[in-house]
Symmetry: C2
Subunit: 197 residues, 2 copies
């Protein structure tokens, strides 16, 4: 599934690398709409015991640190189904089948916020949670953004858009409204969110 | 489910807050071992359409930025079932039923690495992914750690432990071996992982 993580270098001497687990079997569970559950039977190389582990096959994601010409950060406020509350996040979403991650970043920014940019930089990518997801989340930076388009929300979305300066962005983080790990992950590549002495 | 996120302040004037979604129905899906899948039928207040959304009811998690007396970071290397590869991460795990998050942090650090500390500081918490998880991940800092105990691995674990100085830690990040968003989230509260000019 992961396409951009193929060239990870081997660990240097002194950094232990446990053995890979041998997979004995793999069966699919029910359709979860946003994932496909898979149950893998694997052998722990340390104990030789076999056990079943859940993997959620998940499409890659993208999110966008979008900065306007006057240095404000484009944020979205939406109701989230997990906690049942409204959160502040950066724009983002699921990469469509066959779509590149830059293309998805441009599309999600435009659809969710109406902002567009001609200055795009890949910040990097993370594994959202390798304990059970098999996907990546790409972080893109869009600079000199302008609100040139109409917002086009999916039927499953109801999004408020706001562009905040860095101090107001930090307040969203400090006061706990911006608390999505992947939004913080993207932002932390651009803004020093946590004061360190 | 979320216990430590009850006191989030309302957004200030100028920051839009979309309406909450009304829940019509909620049914449970199959046991996924590490989650309970729930299918909520909700009404989008923007369109008045109802739709089904997946929530994974998930126990809270904890991870630990553990620093030794000589300033090295305690890291774990383990095979991860999502990508089917070995990753570098910080110690962490699932909070047991009835367990406090500090207690869980102390236990996970001890069990996974044998390190203990008398100097614990809560760094904060994040929502791993509010799109479908209902849980929090707490980040703890353990300073002046010493390896005083034997490692006690679960049957489902095979972990290599290493303590790296800050430059070698940055190399794990830079070369893509340390790429778990929640590990990066904890570390970014303590270490400036991303060079910004």
């Amino acid at each position: 599934m992961n396409r951009d993580d193929e060239h990870i270098e081997e660990a240097p001497a002194g950094v232990p690398t446990p053995a890979l687990w041998k997979q004995l079997e793999s069966t699919y569970g029910p359709d979860l709409k946003i994932f496909k559950a898979r149950f893998d039977t694997l052998v722990n190389p340390r104990t030789q015991q076999s056990m079943v582990r859940t993997v959620l096959e998940t499409a890659d994601w993208v999110n966008i640190v979008a900065v306007t010409k006057d240095g404000r950060y484009v944020l979205v406020r939406q109701y989230r189904f997990g906690p049942g509350r409204v959160t502040t996040e950066i724009p983002g979403g699921v990469i469509d089948p066959g779509e590149g991650h830059e293309e998805a970043a441009r599309r999600e920014l435009r659809e969710e916020t109406g902002y567009t940019s001609n200055k795009w930089t890949l910040l990097g990518w993370v594994e959202p949670n390798p304990a059970f997801h098999d996907n990546l989340c790409y972080h893109w930076l869009a600079e000199e953004c302008e609100q040139t388009e109409q917002v086009e929300l999916d039927p499953g979305e109801d999004i408020g858009v706001v562009a905040l300066d860095e101090e107001a962005l930090r307040r969203e983080v400090r006061e706990g409204r911006l608390r999505h790990s992947l939004a913080l992950s993207g932002l932390s590549r651009v803004v020093d969110l946590w004061s360190r002495e």
